[in-house]
């Protein structure tokens, strides 16, 4: 029977959704599921974690020096807890990818990155080569499994549970060699294309630099980042750093909306891991429709105008 410890990601106020996704992965592994909330004054976070389905216990490790997610400090606490568990997992967000290998090394084990599917308690599927191959990996028998969970592969667990919350004292003092200065969030500007959960993208069909304005407007309405096909970049409609595809950015947003993009293989390569792909193109034979989850054959400008009106 597995005993699984999930290291919660949070900002002190609320639980990051990636933690609920780790719970789904833990459910697939099967066994007792506990969540560690390492932080300072993160009671609200602990309450959120306790509400997640199938969670047995939430362990709160509270100390002032644990407020910021400094890997050296958090890893020391996680390792102190890890002895009781067969699995220690965290999200493959920048927080998890920073922290989990540090835990693994202290525990003396190799780490499994980006679990996308569970084959068995110690055996998983994970992507390599930017998702161009999926490989089966197994942790050696009898050793602690330390792993990160690929957020895009898992749905968030429900919140109808009621786990016990247990307080633990910090086992280590602050590492003096690292000083957290601060976080500058992206602010009110458009989200970053690489990490955005929604992306609105335009292609040659947009027709001009002016035409691209409607793409920006729709993106802002949806809180989405803006992307483009190479054809649109080559035609000078937008900047090169907006290019999505083989020679641009490889992205995996939850929602990708392609307007006036034909869907050449070079472009599709960049969005193959996207959650839902929407395609709007006036050419109903365009290859993009062969891979789009939702297709609409029609004039992109009138579709965007309608969306604009309907979304209010």
């Amino acid at each position: 029977m597995s005993r699984i410890l999930i290291i919660a990601e949070h900002d002190g106020q609320s639980l990051n959704i990636s933690t609920a996704k780790c719970v789904s992965c833990a459910q697939a592994i099967g066994g007792d599921i506990d969540i560690a909330v390492i932080g300072s004054g993160a009671d609200a976070v602990a309450a959120e974690a306790a509400a997640l389905d199938s969670v047995t216990k939430v362990i709160v490790v509270d100390a002032e020096h644990l407020e910021a997610p400094v890997a050296a400090n958090w890893a020391a606490e996680a390792v102190a807890l890890a002895a009781d568990y067969s699995h220690v997992i965290g999200p493959s967000t920048t927080m998890g990818r920073d922290l989990m290998p540090r835990i693994a090394a202290l525990a003396g084990v190799n780490q499994i990155s980006d679990i996308m599917e569970v084959n068995g308690p110690d055996s998983f599927k994970r992507p390599i080569y930017a998702g161009n191959a999926i490989v089966d990996v197994s942790a050696p028998a009898g050793s602690t499994v330390v792993a990160t969970v690929r957020a895009a592969s898992w749905k968030a667990a429900g919140s109808s549970g009621g786990a016990a919350v247990e307080q633990r004292a910090a086992s280590s003092s602050a590492a003096t060699h690292t000083r957290y200065i601060g976080l500058e969030s992206g602010g009110s500007e458009r989200p970053d294309l690489q990490s955005a959960s929604k992306v609105v993208s335009g292609g040659r069909g947009v027709g001009s630099e002016d035409g691209f304005q409607v793409i920006y407007q729709l993106a802002d309405k949806l809180g989405a980042a803006v992307g483009a096909s190479r054809a649109a970049v080559d035609a000078g409609y937008c900047a090169n750093d907006m290019q999505v595809g083989q020679t641009g950015k490889i992205i995996s947003p939850d929602l990708y909306m392609a307007f006036g993009i034909s869907g050449a293989i070079q472009h599709v390569t960049g969005i193959k891991d996207a959650g839902t792909i929407v395609a709007v193109n006036k050419d109903s034979e365009a290859p993009i429709f062969e891979i789009a989850d939702i297709g609409l054959a029609g004039d992109l400008f009138s579709v965007i105008a309608d969306l604009d009106e309907l979304l209010g």
């Binding site: 040659r204 027709g207 001009s208 630099e209 002016d210 035409g211 970049v233 050449a264 070079q266 390569t269």
Partner: protein, 537 residues
């Protein structure tokens, strides 16, 4: 501009193909004290090489005795030859002409062979520099070729220096060897500057496209060499296909068409794809997977079109000179022999002078003389060509008379008054879907923020005369979909088009530089390391 840094060598070789590498190896075998460098624009040796290829091993035996104990990867002795005359659905086996008999020859990947030769050259202390493009010729004070200038790196699309800007260096050498392959851009400049083609016919070319396939187990018969001719081409268009059966269920399939075709609406890429859908070929490929694809121009002029191969300070070797044997469908052995001959000449005399005479007297040129009338015989259509080819073959080229070779760019007919032949082409379903998809399998890569390396000398012609006279054939003959006419919007004028150059798609085949009817497209080298990344082609 600061003074360029300089490196000095005794011999600088431009292009690490079979000619250049053979020349380098031979030079160091004969004169180890010579300082020899080879520069190559592809990121890795062999990555810009595309060929069938079935090769005659003779020159390899001479150059690298013992190579059979340590052969290049994928090197399969030819077991059987077949030539097929195709109609749309049918086929007829033709007798194999003697020059196309391949007993004793090998099927291999020429790219892999070059990658295998390079370390052997390096073991002889040849300096090989992949990823660096020879962008220009360095001339000495008295106007001789004195080496090359490496292209600058880190220049943006407007020509400004980026943060990563790095000025290209000059490589000085008393002897420069141009082994750029077919239609090398420096060779082209030098042929013009020194009038090297004054006494020869114009050069003529073909475009070859190739794909590597992983087919269903059992379908490939390793060692089988198949060629087809006729369908899907009309009788006025020269060309045919090759299908070479490799190990591990792989097939190398390709299609070559003469660039002297007449129909301005003709799409060579489409002809290749149609050929793949002939029942005989389709059967082979169906259920398989395409691994790689690419294209490259082929030099076809032969004997009549050979330019003078020496000029002050430099030599032309291999396909830069035009040594390919069209009826044999082979150029590698000729290119290697030619490269070795240049090396032997330099080792013997220490000079470029006198090479051309030696070259004319060599087996390389003798072989071309024998078959000189076969390719031009096909100008009058397939069957007349076929007949003449048979006669020339039987008589081994000993009949007097030499047919003239014509230039490709002037072969294109104007739309006005021209009726294209009925092609009966079908809807196809084997990959790649289109040229853009094919480019994907060439893994071609160019930093998009660099000057366009396809220069249009008179852009107005593209949107005026060419539209009316030829309907912009560049949008069709380019196998990589580099050229596109797109509607210019924004200014409200309807119908106004402009030529969009998708330079990042370019696979460096040089077809545009050759076939453009106005000769206003100039192919120059992009930043070193750019271009296709062929694997086992």
């Amino acid at each position: 501009m600061t003074e360029r840094e300089v490196m000095e060598y005794d011999v600088i070789i431009v292009g690490a193909g079979p000619a250049g590498l053979s020349c380098a190896i031979r030079l160091k075998q004969l004169k180890p004290e010579l300082m020899v460098a080879v520069i190559e624009k592809s990121a890795e040796i062999g990555a810009h090489i595309l060929s069938g290829a079935v090769i005659e091993p003779g020159p390899l035996d001479d150059l690298l005795p013992g190579w059979r104990e340590n052969p290049p990867p994928t090197c399969i002795p030819v077991e059987r030859d077949e030539i097929w005359l195709l109609s749309q659905k049918g086929r007829r086996r033709l007798p194999t002409p003697p020059q196309q008999k391949n007993h004793g020859n090998f099927i291999l990947s020429l790219g892999a062979m070059c990658a295998w030769m390079a370390p052997q050259a390096e073991a002889l202390e040849v300096d090989i520099f992949p990823g660096y493009a020879a962008a220009g010729i360095r001339y000495t004070e008295n106007g001789e070729v004195g080496g090359v200038i490496i292209g600058d790196m880190g220049v943006d699309s407007e020509g400004n220096e980026k943060d990563t800007y790095m000025q290209g260096i000059e490589i000085h050498a008393p002897i420069t060897i141009l082994s750029e392959g077919c239609r090398g851009h420096l060779s082209k400049q030098l042929i013009e500057k020194f009038g090297l083609d004054r006494d020869s016919d114009p050069q003529t070319y073909g475009i070859g496209m190739k794909e590597l396939w992983q087919v269903q187990p059992g379908k490939s018969k390793p060692g089988l060499v198949q060629h087809t001719t006729r369908w899907p081409l009309d009788s006025k268009t020269y060309g045919g296909s090759f299908i070479y059966h490799l190990e591990k269920d792989r097939i190398a399939i390709g299609f070559v068409t003469g660039l002297d075709y007449q129909d301005p609406e003709f799409v060579p890429f489409e002809a290749f794809q149609q050929m793949k859908h002939h029942p005989m070929v389709r059967d082979l490929l169906e259920g398989g997977e395409i691994l790689s694809s690419g294209a490259r121009a082929i030099v076809e002029g032969g004997y009549q079109s050979l330019p003078k191969t020496e000029m002050p300070g430099a030599l032309l070797v291999g396909d830069s000179a035009g040594t390919l044997n069209v009826p044999k469908i082979k150029g590698t052995h000729q290119a290697m022999r030619c490269g070795m001959l240049a090396a032997e000449h330099i080792a013997e005399t220490g000079s470029w002078q006198g090479f051309d005479a030696k070259f004319r007297d060599s087996t390389v040129v003798k072989e071309l003389h024998k078959v000189r009338n076969i390719r031009p015989a096909f100008y009058k259509g397939f069957w007349r060509g076929f007949l003449r080819a048979a006669i020339e073959t039987i008589t081994a080229g000993k009949l007097p008379g030499t047919l003239k070779v014509h230039a490709d760019h002037s072969a294109l007919k104007k739309l006005d008054g021209y009726t294209a032949p009925e092609r009966h082409w079908i809807n196809r379903d084997l990959p790649p879907r289109d040229r853009l998809a094919a480019v994907y399998f060439a893994a071609t890569e160019h930093d998009e923020d660099q000057p366009v390396h396809l220069r249009i000398l008179e852009p107005d012609v593209c949107i005026t005369r060419c539209v009316e006279e030829y309907d912009n054939p560049c949008t069709r003959f380019c196998p990589a979909h580099v050229y596109e006419m797109v509607e210019e919007s924004g200014d409200g004028e309807s119908g106004a088009n402009r030529l969009q150059i998708n330079a990042a798609n370019c696979v460096h085949c040089k077809t545009c530089d050759i076939k453009d009817p106005y000769q206003i497209i100039q192919w120059v080298t992009p930043e070193g390391g750019s271009g296709p990344n062929y694997q086992n082609m």
